[in-house]
Point group: C2
Chain length 408, copies 2
């Protein structure tokens, strides 16, 4: 299997500020990998407010079921994340493993099981042996540190070729607050290993119901607006945790949290871009902008049909401004569209208008746009005001190699 | 671009019986290709009954619009098919080109324009120059022959690596009748060229309304049950034509046409398999059988989600019995499914049951199944009685090469 680092990897990683009240530790638990950390503990000094968004899969993993079940209380003392085994499609054994893990962590952290949240990523269908997790979590607990962000981002990786971190500061009433976040994911589900995971922490105390609304809202235009291969993991999870000394903010319309909202959305956007740029085999980051659809939902569906089309994605890999395939993908989306009203641009070059090729567009200039590693493709449907953006990457032989060049 | 013949190509082609009353000719019209035939005329001595099924694309080609418009009359004197240019996304020019083509053919064949049906396949977005089609169709007309089936199957090819023909004989009241058919298609839409086309002719006279019902019915489990890359062409068209000396059959429930129905479905099934086996880059033919879904429609949706999943398809290319990816695809279909009721088999080997891996299944025996070039994957959802089959092929580097290794 390929271990080349994505050509779209960042050239540097952000310095993560210390957030007093949250500590992290990552250890080698030997779940599947050898010689690397694969178990991560994120612990809060005082219980944090928590919100979550999970996979839409009808066959979710046992940890996703666990988190969903306990989210309504909105309180988290710790998050336990492992890589190497997704604990998905593991039946009753999977349920037991989540219970064991939460129980072990609750003992170590001296809290209720319901305050322990879980995420697992890796092989699907193999039972996760959590029998020794109390020892492992005890070991991790002894190493907790305010500075463990980079290690944590690495410990949760599976086929990722680089760790994914983002941080933003924002001010409220003259006081500085922060959001620190990590993520992993490289296909929507990767070779025998799965999943997009993200953990976002802020030192501004916000009521969990407000967190939940904001997380759900921003997920649509960030994590749910990126696609690598249209495949949906059994385990996708985004958790947002909040704690702090301020009076807990409980009003979503409060002017006070305007800066927080903006920072949260920016962090989620940044992590989403890091995911797409680490798409398996990716050599190009592509933004599909649809305007003029009959509704926002319709625009999103059209953008997703384009972003998921193997023929569009292979054309981009070939640096081919193949707008015929864009038309095809618009057509297959099944949403209102009229051939003779479509306008299609690559970068700022309009190549098709009113159902026809623009006769005199410069092939040379278009070629230059396709050679860049970030490409914008804009489609105006010409029917309404609905618009949406979806980000994706190209489909290369490397994708097939990563996902097909081995046998289990 | 690759020109290797599919490893799944048939080793021989059927002998096509002569159907008195239909004649074919194929000529080099120089539309795009050099040194090969690219214009095909299928002419009926007396007007045939005609039925059609077309792409569901919201941006259909001009010839699809033309056929839809004239299908209600149910009479065809001739079909004009060209390869090399799809006449799709060509705006008003495309409409004019269809009109010109039909007008030219109507003159040559001495009939009304409405009795001329059209199909085009090839580049999208380039205007089709039909100004000289009267000369070309005249030339084709002079070469019409009862024996032109093989040539026709070749003339309509784009990225197909082999021509696709099928024939069946059936008897009614002691008399022998026939169905002859040709098809083309290699991706649901191919590099810069598009489309699945099929033309099916029978010398049993059947009323066009009956033909239409049967064609629509059987398309679901044949042409619409195969998928190469989930991409839908702007031009997909299946036309079914019927003529003969018998009293035209107008009752779909007539016992008389039982043998015809069976033969028609068999021909459509055979052509569908030829399409999937010529899928771009294909090395395996895969049948996804879903049972136990809550409805037939639900079963079809789940089967299609599996068949279209890049991760399932790359695993098959890698000969990996990766049932974790099957679970993922079931989950993403969005249809009722319960992890703990799923059963998954490769060939006759059950690898997962009740939400868990079958502990003692033979990896070696499963490996053998994956090495074959025809693979059956069965999924029982365990909830109801809905079932469906979908056929697909694997996703290989060759697919990416065919579709990405060039620039326009």
């Amino acid at each position: 299997m390929s271990v080349k680092i994505s050509p779209l990897a960042p050239t540097s990683y952000p310095e993560m500020p210390i957030l007093a009240g949250v500590r992290l530790a990552s250890i080698e638990a030997g779940i599947k990998y050898q010689g690397r950390k694969d178990l991560c503990l994120i612990a809060f000094d005082k219980p944090a407010q928590i919100a979550g968004v999970f996979t839409k899969s009808k066959c979710p993993s046992a940890p996703v079921d666990w988190c969903r079940k306990h989210l309504s209380k909105g309180r988290a003392k710790a998050i336990v994340i492992n890589s190497g085994n997704a604990n998905a499609f593991t039946g009753h054994k999977g349920v037991i493993a989540t219970k064991q893990t939460a129980n072990a962590a609750a003992k170590v952290l001296d809290c209720e099981e319901e305050a322990i949240f879980l995420a697992s990523t890796g092989v699907i269908g193999e039972p996760l042996d959590a029998s020794d997790f109390e020892n492992k979590i005890t070991k991790a607990y002894s190493k907790l540190s305010n500075e463990g962000w980079h290690e944590a981002a690495q410990a949760i990786m599976t086929t990722d070729t680089y760790p994914k971190l983002a941080t933003k500061a924002f001010a409220i009433d003259g006081k500085q607050y922060h959001i620190n976040a990590i993520a992993k994911g490289s296909g929507m589900i990767a070779p025998d290993m799965a999943t997009m995971l993200s953990f976002i922490v802020t030192d501004l105390s916000v009521e969990h119901t407000v967190l939940q609304k904001l997380l759900s809202r921003y997920t649509k235009s960030t994590f749910n607006a990126v696609t690598v291969d249209s495949d949906t993991s059994t385990s996708d999870s985004v958790l947002l945790m909040s704690f702090g000394d301020n009076d807990t903010i409980a009003d979503i319309k409060s002017l006070q949290i305007k800066t927080f909202k903006k920072a949260l959305r920016a962090v989620m956007r940044e992590l989403s871009m890091l995911l797409v740029r680490d798409g398996e085999g990716a050599t190009k980051q592509v933004c599909i902008k649809v305007t003029g659809a009959t509704s926002k939902q319709s625009a999103r569906k059209i953008a997703k049909a384009i972003a998921d089309s193997p023929l569009v994605k292979t054309a981009i890999a070939g640096e081919d401004a193949n707008w015929g395939r864009i038309v095809m993908a618009v057509g297959k989306a099944g949403e209102p569209a009229e051939r003779d009203l479509l306008t299609i641009s690559f970068g700022d070059i309009m190549v098709a208008q009113n159902g026809e090729r623009v006769p005199d567009y410069s092939e040379e200039a278009t070629s230059k746009i396709m050679q860049a590693d970030e490409i914008d493709i804009s489609i105006d449907i010409g029917l309404g005001k609905g618009k949406a953006k979806v980000w994706t990457c190209d489909l290369t032989k490397e994708y097939v190699a990563i996902n097909g060049d081995y046998r289990s």
